[in-house]
C-alpha cells in the first residue's frame, strides 16, 4: 500500500522535520479548527477590558447548530498494526508471546486492544525473556502441530532468542516470529538486515516496506513455517508501518500452502503392496499434526499392519498402546512402509533441513548437524529400497483411498483375523514388558534421596486418567515414562530439546500448557535443576496465566552429565578426580526451588528428601493444577 500523505504521519519523516517534541504532539492531531478559533479569539482580545466581546461568526454558526465544535481528532484511527493482528487472527494463531520492547509497542497495543473482544485469539502472553518466548512457541507447536507467534524486540531481542530459534529449527518445529524495527529511536536496537543474524537457522524471513507487503509476509511466514521441513520464520516490521494509519488497507485473501505428496501411481503401488502383503508393517515416525496421526491409525487398521512408533521419543506418532502397535504375532514382515521413518520397501519422508539450510547459510557457518542429511529428528535412518521425498501426512489420504478401492471382502476378513492376532500378541508383550520394568524400577524405592524411577512411577497412577502431556525431556531423568506410561496421544510426550540446548524444559512446558488450558489437559514438567536456572522467570508466566502445569524438580544439584564428563577426563589425565565438581555442580549454597517458585507466585513445596513423602506431595500438586493453579514440588533426587 502506498502511503497517503494527507492522512499518514510517517514517524521517520516527521522526526526529520519537526522542531521538537511539542511540535510533534501537535502534528499528530488535526488542529486547524482550533487554531482558527484561537486566532479569531486573539484578535478579539483587543476589545477594551471589562466589555463583553461580540460573538464571532464561528460562535454564531455553532450556536445555530450549523457547525460542530472543534475537536482534536487523531488521524491514527486504523493503525496498520490492527490489520496485522487481524491477519494473525485469521490464521488461527492462538497466542502471541513477547517480552516488551519499544520497537513493537504499536503492534502490542493492537494485540491487547484491537477486536471484540480484544486480546483473544490471539491472547498476548507475557514472557520474561525472549529465549523463553520462542521456547514456549516451540513447546506449543510440538503439542498442537501448529505455530504460535513470538514477538521479539529489534536486534537485542532477536539475539536473546537466537539459541531457542536454533533449537526449534533443529527440531523442525514451526514458529512464526515478528521482530520490531525502530530505526529512529535507539540506534543500538536496529540494523540494516536484522534477520541476518538468525538467517542460518530460520527457514524464511522478510522485511517488508509497506503494510500490504507486511500482511502478505505474515501469511507467507505462516505457510513457510508449517510446510516441511517445518521451521521458524521471521518477519521484521518497522514501527512506522505498525503505527501508520491505514484506512483503506485490506487483508489479502489467504492461500493455504501446498504439501508435496506422492503421485497417484505411487499411491496405487503402495496400497497394492499393503493389501496383498501377508504381514505388512508400518513404521511411523513424527508426523506434522494430530490429523496425520489419525490418518496413520486409519491406514494401519485398514490393512491390519503392525506398527512401530516414536511416541516415546517425541510427539505426533502412533499411539503406543494401540492394539496394532508393537511387533505383533509374527515378526516376518513381507512389506514395510515408513511414514517419516525408515521402511524396508518404501519410506515416505519429507525434506530435511539440509535441503533448505545451505542457501540460507550465506556466511558459511556450516552448522554440522543441520547440514548432515538424516541427522535431524524423525529422519528415516533405516535404508529403504524406495525412499520417497514427500510429506507422509499429506500422502496418507491418497494411500487410504487406494486401499479402500482395492480391498476385497475376502481380504478384509483376512486382515481382521490378522489384526486380532497382532493385538493379542502386542498386549501380552506389553504386560510382560511392564512387569519386567516395575521389577527394575523398584531399585532404590525407599532410598534417600528419591530415585527418579519413583517419581515417574508415583506420578503415573495420578495422571493416567487425565488428558496428560509430558512436555519436558525425560532423557536426563532416567526416561522411566517410556516403560511405565502409555503414550497414546499425539502430544503425550514432546521429546527432547531439539539441539540439546538447556533452558528448555520449563518454557516448553509453559508453551504446552498454553495449548492445554483451553483443552482441559494436564501438563507435566519433570524439571532438571540446571536447565531451570537459565531463565526461571518463565515460572511467573505460568503463574500469571494460571496454566495447568505440574513441575516436579529432578534436583540432583548438578549438571550431571557434564560432571561425569569431567570426572572421566580427570581419570584419563590421572589427576584431581576429587575436583570434578568444580564448575559442574550446584552446591554451596543449594538452590531452594520451592522458594524460587514462591517468588514467582507459583504454589509449591519442598525440598523433599524422603521418598515416603513424595506421593502425598504429588497428590497435592495434581489437585492444585486441576484447580487451575500451577504447582512445583522440589524433590532432591538421585543423580539419574
Amino acid at each position: 500500500m502506498g502511503k497517503t500523505p494527507k492522512t499518514s504521519v510517517g514517524r521517520r519523516g516527521f522526526l526529520k522535520n519537526a522542531a521538537g517534541a511539542a511540535a510533534g504532539a501537535a502534528a499528530l492531531v488535526t488542529t486547524t479548527p482550533l487554531l482558527e478559533a484561537q486566532t479569531q479569539g486573539s484578535a478579539r482580545t483587543a476589545e477594551p477590558a471589562g466589555s463583553v466581546p461580540a460573538p464571532t461568526d464561528t460562535q454564531l454558526e455553532r450556536e445555530a447548530g450549523n457547525v460542530r465544535p472543534p475537536v482534536a481528532v487523531r488521524t491514527i484511527t486504523r493503525p496498520g498494526s490492527d490489520l496485522m493482528v487481524q491477519t494473525v487472527r485469521d490464521l488461527g494463531i492462538e497466542f502471541a508471546v513477547a517480552n516488551p520492547g519499544s520497537s513493537f509497542e504499536g503492534l502490542q497495543e493492537s494485540f491487547i486492544n484491537y477486536g471484540h473482544p480484544p486480546n483473544v485469539m490471539p491472547e498476548w502472553i507475557t514472557a520474561l525473556h525472549e529465549e523463553s518466548a520462542v521456547t514456549m512457541a516451540h513447546g506449543y507447536a510440538k503439542a498442537e502441530g501448529k505455530p504460535m507467534l513470538a514477538v521479539l524486540h529489534g536486534t537485542i531481542g532477536i539475539q536473546h532468542a537466537a539459541m531457542s530459534i536454533y533449537q526449534a529449527y533443529y527440531d523442525r518445529v514451526p514458529v512464526v516470529m515478528i521482530a520490531g524495527n525502530d530505526p529512529d529511536f535507539i540506534p543500538a536496537h536496529t540494523a540494516h538486515d536484522m534477520a541476518g543474524m538468525v538467517r542460518s537457522f530460520t527457514k524464511w524471513d522478510a522485511e517488508p516496506k509497506t503494510l500490504d507487503e507486511t500482511l502478505v509476509a505474515i501469511q507467507r511466514a505462516y505457510n513457510e513455517a508449517i510446510t516441511p521441513p517445518m521451521a521458524p520464520t521471521l518477519v521484521v516490521i518497522s514501527s512506522e508501518i505498525q503505527k501508520d494509519n491505514a484506512p483503506n488497507a485490506r487483508i489479502p485473501a489467504y492461500q493455504p500452502p501446498q504439501f508435496s505428496t506422492i503421485d497417484a501411481t505411487r499411491a496405487r503401488e503402495i496400497a497394492k503392496a499393503l493389501v496383498e502383503a501377508q504381514n505388512p508393517r508400518i513404521a511411523v515416525g513424527r508426523l506434522r499434526t494430530p490429523e496425520g496421526v489419525k490418518r496413520a491409525i486409519e491406514l494401519a487398521e485398514l490393512v491390519g499392519a503392525c506398527t512401530s512408533t516414536t511416541a516415546t521419543v517425541g510427539p505426533m506418532s502412533f499411539p503406543q498402546r494401540h492394539p496394532l502397535c508393537g511387533p505383533g504375532a509374527d515378526t516376518n514382515y513381507d512389506y514395510t512402509l515408513g511414514l517419516e521413518a525408515g521402511g524396508a520397501q518404501a519410506s515416505i519422508t519429507g525434506p530435511g533441513l539440509a535441503k533448505i539450510a545451505a542457501p540460507r547459510d550465506t556466511t558459511n557457518i556450516g552448522f554440522a548437524g543441520i547440514l548432515t542429511p538424516g541427522r535431524a529428528f524423525g529422519g528415516g535412518r533405516e535404508k529403504s529400497a524406495t525412499p520417497i521425498e514427500a510429506d507422509a501426512e499429506a500422502s496418507l489420504p491418497l494411500i487410504i483411498a487406494e486401499v479402500n478401492r482395492q480391498l476385497t471382502g475376502d481380504q478384509k476378513a483376512r486382515i481382521q483375523e490378522r489384526a486380532a492376532k497382532h493385538a493379542r500378541a502386542n498386549h501380552e508383550a506389553h504386560v510382560a514388558a511392564v512387569q519386567q520394568a516395575v521389577e527394575s524400577k523398584k531399585a532404590g524405592w525407599n532410598g534417600t534421596p528419591v530415585s527418579t524411577a519413583r517419581i515417574y512411577a508415583e506420578l503415573w497412577p495420578l495422571i493416567m486418567h487425565e488428558d496428560w502431556c509430558l512436555a519436558s525431556p525425560s532423557n536426563f531423568s532416567g526416561g522411566h515414562n517410556v516403560q511405565l506410561w502409555d503414550h497414546n496421544k499425539p502430544y503425550s510426550y514432546l521429546g527432547g530439546q531439539g539441539a540439546g540446548g538447556m533452558g528448555y524444559g520449563a518454557p516448553a512446558s509453559v508453551g504446552a500448557a498454553l495449548a492445554a488450558k483451553a483443552r482441559n489437559r494436564f501438563v507435566v514438567n519433570v524439571q532438571t535443576d540446571g536447565d531451570l536456572n537459565y531463565a526461571p522467570g518463565v515460572l511467573w508466566t505460568a503463574a500469571h496465566h494460571k496454566l495447568p502445569m505440574l513441575t516436579v524438580m529432578h534436583n540432583n544439584r548438578a549438571w550431571h552429565q557434564e560432571y561425569m564428563f569431567v570426572e572421566y577426563m580427570a581419570g584419563v589425565r590421572g589427576r584431581g578426580a576429587d575436583r570434578a565438581e568444580i564448575g559442574s555442580t550446584l552446591r554451596d549454597p543449594f538452590i531452594d526451588y520451592a522458594k524460587m517458585a514462591a517468588t514467582y507466585g507459583m504454589a509449591g513445596e519442598g525440598p523433599i528428601h524422603d521418598p515416603a513423602k513424595l506421593s502425598a506431595a504429588l497428590q497435592r500438586g495434581v489437585a492444585s493444577v486441576k484447580r487451575g493453579e500451577p504447582y512445583m514440588i522440589d524433590v532432591i533426587t538421585q543423580p539419574r
Binding site: P319, R321, H322, P323, H427, H430, V431, V434, Q435, Q436, V438, E439, S440, K441, K442, A443, G444, W445, N446, G447, T448, P449, S451, T452, A453, A457, E458, W460, P461, M464, L484, D486, N488, A558, H560, Q561, Y563, M564, F565, E567, Y568, M569, A570, G571, V572, G574, R575, G576, A577, D578, A580, E581, S615, Q638, P639, R640
Partner: protein, 142 residues
C-alpha cells in the same frame, strides 16, 4: 594391560550382565578400609554420579550387581585398569582412578563404604503403586 587388570576387567564384564536382572550375591571377603571415611570419599570422588548415593540406582547399580567387588584388591585393580587414553568424544564411562589421584587407602575406604550398601527396595507385592501400574497394563487399551 597388566595381567591383574585384565583379570579384573574380565570379571567386571562378566558381572555387568547382572545389570540386566541376574542378581549377584554380595561379597563376604575381608574389608580393611574405613567406611565412615569412605562415605565422604564416595561423594567427593563422584562415585554417586553413576552408582547412586546408595549404590542402588543409576547406570551401574552396585546392590545385587557387585561381582567385580568380590575382594578389596579386585576393586582397587579395577579402578586402575580403566580407560587411560583421551576419548574422542566426552564419555560417561567408568573413569580411570590412578593411584596419584586416588591412593589405595582411600580406595579401600570407598570399598568399605560400598560394602555397607543394602537394597532399600521392598518386595514388589508391598509396593501398591507398582502393582497398580501392572494391573493397569493388563487392561486392554486403545
Amino acid at each position: 594391560m597388566k595381567k591383574n587388570a585384565f583379570a579384573a576387567l574380565t570379571l567386571f564384564l562378566a558381572t555387568m550382565s547382572g545389570q540386566q536382572g541376574n542378581i549377584v550375591p554380595a561379597p563376604t571377603s575381608p574389608v580393611t578400609g574405613n567406611a565412615v571415611n569412605g562415605k565422604a570419599l564416595y561423594y567427593t570422588y563422584g562415585c554417586y554420579a553413576c552408582h547412586g548415593y546408595n549404590g542402588e540406582t543409576g547406570a551401574r547399580a552396585f546392590v545385587g550387581h557387585c561381582g567385580h567387588l568380590a575382594t578389596e584388591q579386585a576393586f582397587v585393580t579395577f579402578l586402575r585398569g580403566r580407560a587411560n587414553v583421551a576419548p574422542v568424544v566426552p564419555s560417561t564411562s567408568m573413569p580411570n582412578f590412578g593411584e596419584a589421584s586416588l591412593p589405595d587407602k582411600k580406595a579401600k575406604d570407598i570399598y568399605a563404604y560400598i560394602r555397607t550398601f543394602k537394597s532399600s527396595a521392598p518386595d514388589l507385592k508391598d509396593i501398591p503403586t507398582l502393582n497398580a501400574i501392572v494391573e493397569s497394563a493388563k487392561q486392554d487399551k486403545k
